[in-house]
Amino acid sequence: MNPIATHTTDDLGVAWKDDAAWQERLDSDRRRAQAVQTTAQRAFTETVVERALAVGAEAVALTGSTVRMRRTAISDLDYHVVGPRPQVSDLPGDVDIYASDRDAFWKKLRGGDDFVQWTLREGCILVDSDIFRDGLRAIAVEGLWPNPGPKLERLPAHMKIVGRLLAMGDRDAAQAELRAALTSAARAVLLGAEVFPLARAELPEQLRMVGAERLGEALRVTIDTEPSLEDLQRFLDVLAQVAHVDVRT
């Protein structure tokens, strides 16, 4: 796999072009999903797919660090569903299901959302009525590239939450929210540099390659360690510089 996917449609392949090629992509993705998951994860994924189909989903993909084989201690099992969100709150474990209807899928894709592109470029497509295939075609034919703008626009509000948690002294919560905000900023920076952001654990290295070492190091530390409140404040200041926001006001 390309460790630093750049702004190109070359790595999208041509699977969307004909039925046989698309079937091969689906078969390959299903084999890959089997290979990258543990037995328990596979069982969980089967349940998610069954429940998604039962409520009328037309497409389901396994996404995120699992499919990149870069899970960390805090990784979720991530899914992208086109259709109603399946109910999974009774199931144990860390799971994140992004669900949208068909209209929202297209609005997000053409509006520059990177998560939809992530699913199509890197995800393991498990079920598809052809909407994922059509989405991939749209990326290739229309030359769609995600827009980092919305991520940067959401950063000030997100940083305010981190500031509130730091002021309260809730180190665990502050770290979780700061890590999320750093991840979002990292993806925005990479997209702006025309580098497609991969799994969270891969972002520090991708950031280093585009000259954003400080942001990458702050993210790495919040993924791999348990920094003090003082260190978290310092990383929030790094983030503020990226977002051009004064978090202390």
Binding site: A73, D76, V88, D90, Y98, R154, G169, D170, D172, A173
Partner: protein, 121 residues
């Protein structure tokens, strides 16, 4: 200054959620309720020897386990998981809040969990 206990943090987050609810700041309510619930879950889990590490899912699993052990009369695990998904949708994806229950009802439920945590030593 010694760090605050999880029980104290749970109560503080809960009161923040109440203020946000009264102020009509729905997105902030979801976050504050989630962290109130998580802090209470960790306080209870630690008091009863259940591991949570730094994982959101394990904290939800812990309160479900404590319900199965009859430590808690209610299983708050599904609510924790719903709040976790809701805050990610809101803050990471820019979506509108989407919870099965009104926020005021969720706040009442989480307050019960916080009160359970406050009974622990």
């Amino acid at each position: 200054m010694s760090p605050k206990s999880k029980r104290e943090l749970a109560r503080e987050h809960l009161e923040t959620a109440r203020e946000d609810l009264e102020g009509g700041r729905e997105k902030d309510v979801i976050n504050a309720l989630f962290y109130a619930a998580e802090a209470a879950a960790v306080a209870l889990a630690e008091a009863h020897g259940v591991e949570t590490k730094q994982r959101h899912g394990l904290k939800a699993d812990a309160v479900t386990e404590l319900h199965k052990k009859r430590v808690l009369a209610t299983d708050y695990g599904p609510t924790l998981r719903e709040l976790n998904q809701a805050r990610k949708d809101v803050w990471y994806e820019g979506e509108d809040p989407d919870l099965d229950e009104p926020l005021a009802d969720v706040l009442d439920e989480i307050e019960q969990l916080v009160e359970e945590a406050e009974k622990t030593q």
